[in-house]
Symmetry: C2
Subunit: 439 residues, 2 copies
Amino acid sequence: MSQGDDAGGLAAQPPSIDADRLLDRLRQLGQVGRDAEGRLCRLAASDADKAGRDRLADWIVSAGLELAIDRVGNMFGIWRPAQAPDATPDEAPVMIGSHIDTVIDAGIYDGCYGVLTGLEVAQALQSSGFTPACPIVVAAFTNEEGVRYAPDMMGSLVYAGGLAIDEALATLGTDGTALGAELARIGYAGSEEPGFLRPRAYLELHVEQGPVLERDAVPIGAVENLQGISWQRITIQGVANHAGTTPMSMRQDAGQAAARVVTFLRDRIAGPTTVATVGCMSFEPNAINVIPSRATFTVDLRDPDEHRLRQAEAALARYLDELARSEGVTVSAERLARFAPVSFDKAIVGLVEDAAQRLGLRSRRMTSGAGHDAQMLARICPAAMIFVPSAGGISHNPREHTERSDLLAGADVLLDVVRRLAGATFPPPSCHRAGGFQP
Amino acid sequence: MSQGDDAGGLAAQPPSIDADRLLDRLRQLGQVGRDAEGRLCRLAASDADKAGRDRLADWIVSAGLELAIDRVGNMFGIWRPAQAPDATPDEAPVMIGSHIDTVIDAGIYDGCYGVLTGLEVAQALQSSGFTPACPIVVAAFTNEEGVRYAPDMMGSLVYAGGLAIDEALATLGTDGTALGAELARIGYAGSEEPGFLRPRAYLELHVEQGPVLERDAVPIGAVENLQGISWQRITIQGVANHAGTTPMSMRQDAGQAAARVVTFLRDRIAGPTTVATVGCMSFEPNAINVIPSRATFTVDLRDPDEHRLRQAEAALARYLDELARSEGVTVSAERLARFAPVSFDKAIVGLVEDAAQRLGLRSRRMTSGAGHDAQMLARICPAAMIFVPSAGGISHNPREHTERSDLLAGADVLLDVVRRLAGATFPPPSCHRAGGFQP
C-alpha cells in the first residue's frame, strides 16, 4: 500500500479527466430513451431504462471494471486493485454514485453526470498508473426519481437498509407493474445482496438543480447537509354560499382560509434556512359566484436542521388551529412524507473545499434542497456531495443545462477528492464514527 | 275607473291568498323536469322547460287570464279588466314576474315562487270582486338562470331592450343548440315583440337566496336596490422552480401572489356594502414540489353603489400592479361580466314596507346580492322586489327551503302592494320619471 501524507498512492503522472469522452458519453446517454415526441424519459425498470443501463454496463466493462448488480437493480463498476504484498487488505471501497433513471421529459445531466464522471474518474486514475489503497466503485442506484415506483431514492434506500428488499421488489408502479418483475424482465434483477459493499466513503457529484451557484458565480458547491423534508396535504372545509347574498361577516370561506395559510407560510414560517412552498391548490365547487366550501392544498417545508423543521411544522399546526376558530372552518392535515435532515461528513466536505482551492476554483458550503442518493448512503458511511451550477436553476426539464467548464471543474474536484480518499487511509476510525451511521 | 285614496278599487270583500292552492302548485311544478337521478333540472328551452311551461300555461288559462308569448319565449298571463265607461283607458299594466327555468339540481322556490304567487294574487283579486284600474300581468321570463344559454336574465334583458331579439335567438348553448331553434322546437317561440307591454310598475317576489332575513328573524325584505356586479379572471404568471432548491428570495411564485390577492380582497376591499369572492382557483403545474408558475382565479365584486364598485375595481387594479413589481410576476385581468347597480323605485319599496306593517310583519330594507329579472325591468319602469327568508341562506340546491308561514307572508305582502298599485293611479308621472328608465 502506497503511503502519501494526505494523498498517498499518487501516480507518477497526474491523472486528468478525458473531457471529450465524458461529454460525449453524457450526450450519448442523453439520447437513449427518447419517446415519440423526442422527450427524454427513462423511468425506472422500463425498456428505456434497460437501454440506458445496457450502455452504462458496456462502458463499465470496457473500462476494465467488474460489473455487479444487486437484487434491487443497483449497478456497480468495481475496480479492485492488486494488493501490495505487505498491505492490510481493505475491502471497504470509495464509492462514487448517483443514478441514471430520469423523470418524464428530463434533462441529460441530473444523475447521469455523477455516474459518468465517477466512471471517468476511475478511468483517469487507472490511466495515470494510480494504485488505490482500496477498491473504487462507481454506482448507479435504481429508481432515484420515483416517478414510476414510490418512494424515490428507492435503490439507495434499500442499499442502506432503510427498506426491505422484498418490500421494494413488490412495489406496484403507476402502471400496475411490480418493480421486481420489471427488473427481471429487463435483465437487471441482480444476485448481490443490497449493501454487499460497505463504503469507507461515498461521493456524489450532481448538478445543483437550484439557482444559488449561478447567482453567486461560484463553480463548486461543497454540500455539507441536505434539507429535511416535510410534506402535508391540508384540507379546509367551509360552507358553500352565494357570492352575492352572503355578507362577509357570515362567510365560512375555505378559499380565504387557504390563502391565509399560503401567505402565513411565506411571511411567518419561511426564514434564512426554512423554505416553504404551496405547490398544489384546488377549490370546490370552483364556481365564480360560489364561496368555496373546500380548499385542498399541499405544504412542502424544508430545513437542514431538524429542530427548526419541527418548529416550522408546529407553528403551522398552531396557525391552522387559530384559523379554524377565526374563519369558522374545519381543518385537517395529512402527512404525506417526512425525511429528517442529513448532515454530510465534515472531513469529506473539507476535502472538497481543499480540492477546489488547489484547482483555483471558488467554492461555497451549501445545503442540498433536493433529495439525493447520498442522503441514504450517509446512513451507512461518511458521505458528501459536490454541486456544479445549473443554468437558471432549471432541472427536471429539457432546458436543464450546465456549462462545459462547470461540468469539467466538478469532474476535476471529484477526481482530486477520490484520489485522496482512495490513496490515504481515510477516514480515520474516529472520523468514521462521528460522521456516519445515522439511524 | 274606481278611485280610492291610496288603494282605490278595493273590493267588497278583502281578497285572500288560497294558501293550499299556491303551495300545491309550487310542489307540482317542483316535480316537473326531474332527471333520472331525481334532480330538478329545467334548463331554458329544454324538454323539461317545455313541460314546466305547459303546466304554467294551463294554470294561466284556467284562471281566466289571456296567455301571450313573445318572440324570446317570455310568457304572460294578462288580466284586462273591463273599463268603466267614464275611465281613461290605461293599458300600462302592473306586472308581477320572475322565471320558472332552473339550474341543475335546483330547489323548487327560486323563480317559481314569484311567478306562481303572482298568479295566485291575480286569482285572489278576481275572486274578491276587485276591479283593477289597469291590466295586471303575471310574467315568466325566459332563461333567467343562464345555465344553458348565456347571459343569464336573458328574457327580461331582451324585454327591456338591452339585447336585440335576433342576437338572443342566435345564442348558442352549452350543447351547441341555438336558443331560437329550441324555443320553436318546444313550441314557445311566440309572436309578440318583446316589450309589447310597458308596465306602469313591476314587482318581483323571490326567496332571498341569502342568510340575512333568517339571521335577523325578519320575514319581509323590502329590496331597495340590487348590487352591481364585476367579474374578472386574473392570471398570474411566475416561474416554476424546485421547491427545495430555490431560496425564498429568488422565487417568482404565482400561487403566493394569488393568495395575497385573496387576502387583500377580504382585508382591504370588502366593506360594509362591498362583497368580494374568489370562487375559482387553479395552480399550474400543480405539483407538490414545484413552485407554481401560473395561478388563475376569478374575482367577484359586488356593491349596490356604482361609485364604490368602481373604487373597489380600481383598488384591486392598483394592488395587482404593486404585486407584479413586488413578487416579480406578470398579472393580467380579463373582464368576464359587469352590471351596474340598480336602484329600485322608492315609492314601491315604501308600499312594500307599508304592506308589511299593515299585516303585522317585520320588514327591513335590503340589497339584493343576486341578479334578478327585476333589474332588467327597472330599465323601463318603476320596479322593486320583495324577499322572504331562505333557510340557511341556501339556494341553487335541493335543500333550498322557505317556511310555509314565510311563503304566505310574502304572498300577502305582494297581494297588498299589487292591489294598491292596480287600484290607484300609480305611479304619478313625476315618480315614474324619477324611478324608471335606466340606460
